[in-house]
């Protein structure tokens, strides 16, 4: 359950039996395909989720950067992001384990909606915890979860955002651990979550590797993916980790600055791989945004899906090993990246994915001749944010948005 010095199982004793049970199930069903679990998972993610997603050559970006740019189109997955790979895998696993109820936490709502879809598809009752403030900011996603039949429970403690929702879900799990499975949404949390989520998400790189070879006759020179918790990152990297010739870039949210305000307990970024330090959070030892004492600081990103103070322990490990290069782009660059892909390729990316595209823009000369960029999700969910963030900035490549100044 460790990646070098990272990982582990830092959870309350009450949860340990469930974690042991899950570890056992992970080994049997996921690793050893017992009862054909992985076959069923692969069939369902294909038929229900729409895999494989295409690896598309981005003609205009390729021309612009004088390099071969390929986009891995996770935005086309059911629900609009890579999140379903994991949610479907875990809900199916919970069914195999005989669990009767699913819980999950969600910040912006992407993992929550993916879990709600998977739970509806597999006929599992589902309850999603979401901070009250996030609920008010992400009403369409709340509505989607509810029409998928999930219960959405507002968390009113603290600031009412993701971290409170995570704590609340942990508490529900600690209370109902015997019949309930907690679907963690990224490659974070105690073992076996980081490995298991990675394995479900690894379909991305499994396909992309094959598709790249089929298309170009060779491995790509680099793979670029945004990194918040890191599930699309590890999904996009995993099958390439053994290919020494492929450079792996994890693009974090540089936010407005890489500095941390210890006084206020705020990091105006979410770059835990680039700037964080080792610590223990949410069940695992990993790189964190924390103050000198070890208190977790409030992270920030224009993209709520990257806005997390931790990161998957395996990524922390691969960065220490030198296998993954942590990089970051700031909010401004991400917004420009969003507009660029929308205008030039007809693909409206999630603001998360826009970070990867912004890095491509800034550093395309360093990425070799063939680059795969993971478009982890679509941007429909971000339209309001983009309006707000574009109108407050001077974005050189944005269309005239005067009619949207009041929002949608």
């Amino acid at each position: 359950g460790k990646f070098g010095r990272y990982g582990g199982q830092y959870v309350p004793e009450a949860l340990m039996p469930a974690i042991e049970e899950l570890t056992d199930a992970y080994e049997r069903y996921v690793l050893n395909n017992e009862d054909g679990f992985m076959d069923e998972f692969r069939r369902r993610i294909r038929e229900f989720g729409g895999r494989p997603t295409p690896l598309q050559r981005a003609d205009r970006l390729s021309e612009r950067y004088d390099t071969e740019v390929y986009l891995k189109r996770e935005d086309l997955l059911h629900g609009g992001a890579h999140k379903l790979n994991n949610a479907l895998g875990q809900v199916l696993l919970a069914k195999y384990m005989g669990k009767e109820r699913i819980i999950a936490e969600t910040g912006a709502g992407q993992h929550g909606t993916a879990t709600a879809m998977a739970a509806a598809h597999l006929d599992m009752p589902c309850e999603v915890y979401m901070g009250e403030r996030d609920i008010n900011r992400q009403r369409p996603n709340v509505f989607r979860m509810k029409i998928n039949g999930s219960e959405v429970t507002p968390v009113t403690t603290g600031r009412g955002t993701l971290k409170e929702a995570i704590s609340e879900t942990m508490r529900d799990w600690a209370t109902n651990v015997e019949d309930t499975h907690y679907v963690i949404g990224s490659v974070v949390g105690p073992h076996p979550f980081p490995k298991m989520v990675r394995d479900f998400q690894a379909l991305i790189s499994e396909e992309a590797r094959e598709q790249a070879i089929e298309r170009t006759g060779d491995l790509p020179d680099s793979v670029v993916a945004c990194a918040g918790g890191g599930s699309n990152t590890m999904g996009a990297f995993h099958e390439f980790v053994g290919d020494g010739s492929v450079d792996l870039f994890a693009v974090e949210a540089g936010g407005s600055s890489l500095a941390v305000d210890e006084e206020e307990g705020v990091a105006p970024n979410s770059a835990s791989l680039s700037t964080g330090s080792e610590g223990v959070l949410h069940g695992a030892r990993t790189k964190l945004l924390q103050d000198h004492d070890g208190q977790i600081v409030e992270s920030h990103s224009v993209s709520s899906g990257l806005d997390y103070a931790g990161v998957g322990p395996e990524l922390a490990y691969l960065v220490d090993e030198g296998r993954v290069t942590p990089v970051n782009v700031d909010d401004d660059a991400a917004i420009e990246g969003f507009h660029r892909l929308s205008q030039e390729e007809g693909i409206i990316p999630a603001l998360e994915s826009a970070h990867a595209l912004a890095y491509l823009h800034e550093q395309h000369e360093e990425l070799g001749e063939v680059t795969v960029v993971n478009v982890s999700g679509r941007g429909d969910k971000d339209l309001e944010s983009v309006i707000e963030e574009t109108t407050r900035r001077d974005v050189p490549n944005a269309p005239d948005m005067s009619m949207f100044e009041g929002g949608l």
């Binding site: 199982q9 004793e13 340990m16 039996p17 042991e20 600690a174 209370t175 070890g294």
Partner: protein
């Protein structure tokens, strides 16, 4: 106040160990407060009031920003304390400033222990805790599997590492737990998180039965808020009762109402007495009356 706890877990720890002493003479009352809630000075007075009210051991919560094992009551207390500037360094000063005569246990999350001393592991934290007279630790996010380095440091400085036993803990895990535990066992009365509740879980007796072979005092926590509940728990066989949220509620209420520190401290002391008395009553009710009962 710290005493040496060297030696194996199997040894008789009561000799000269204030924690062992606290459980030696009838049921122990173990209250919890978040240190620095709602401010440093009041918090000092509140902890001293608990001692005055009959506490046998006091659990001092060092506030962490992500208290995943706590219910809303303690969560809010932690937030108030952090807001008022509580830090690990201040926490140790607080312990030094405290004028009480009962063993003190530090309850906090592992990241704070780990970060103290900047990445050299838990040793600097434990060393400093020993210095100020802490007797032991309760770390809710540190299961037996990850407890090694902290256990080692505790052994070095003669401190206890108190493990939590949950209703879901099976025999196999119990063995692992006991191996790394000392001082007492924190028996979680029900699943879930900390928080006062009106009824005491049926699972308490069951849990205590499973622990009958464990050669450590069993203190039961989670949900105890009245003397009567304390009595029931002790009657069921507990060696002590741990009460947090019911006390934190009094602090929160006083804070919200703008009551004076003295008034709140009085109420805490009164509540402490009620709980301690409840524990003693429960002890008295045991049939057959255990040997050595005080009345």
């Amino acid at each position: 106040m710290a005493e040496d706890r060297r030696g194996d877990a199997g040894d008789d720890r009561s000799a000269g160990d204030p924690v062992a002493d606290a459980f030696a003479d009838g049921p122990a009352f173990v209250p919890y407060l978040a240190v620095g809630d709602p401010d440093y000075e009041s918090s000092l007075a509140y902890v001293e009031a608990l001692a005055e009210g009959g506490a046998d051991v006091i659990e001092l919560g060092l506030p962490f920003s992500e208290p995943i094992a706590e219910g809303p009551t303690i969560q809010n207390a932690v937030a108030r304390a952090l807001e008022a500037g509580m830090t690990p360094t201040r926490f140790f000063e607080f312990v030094e400033d405290l004028d009480v005569d009962v063993p003190l246990v530090c309850m906090t999350y592992y990241n704070l222990i780990y970060q103290f001393g900047s990445g050299q592991g838990p040793r600097p934290f434990v060393e400093r805790a020993a210095e100020v007279g802490i007797s032991g630790f309760v770390v809710p996010d540190l299961p037996a599997e990850e407890a090694g380095p902290l256990r080692e440091a505790c052994d070095e400085f003669g401190l206890h590492l108190i493990s939590i036993v949950a209703p879901t803990t099976d025999k196999e895990r119990l063995e692992k737990l006991v191996e790394v535990s000392s001082g007492y066992v924190y028996v979680q009365a029900r699943l879930g998180v900390t928080g006062a509740s009106s009824s005491v879980s049926d699972r308490t007796g069951e849990s205590l039965a499973r622990l009958s072979d464990v050669d450590l005092p069993k203190a039961v926590g989670f949900g105890i808020s009245s003397g009567e509940q304390a009595a029931t728990i002790v009657e069921a066989g507990a060696d002590g009762i741990i009460v947090g949220s019911a006390l934190v509620d009094i602090v929160a209420e006083g804070h919200e109402r703008g009551e004076s520190t003295e008034a709140v401290a009085d109420r805490l002391e009164t509540k402490a007495r009620e709980l301690k008395r409840g524990a003693l009553d429960g002890y008295g009710r045991r049939t057959p009356a255990p040997e050595g009962t005080s009345d």
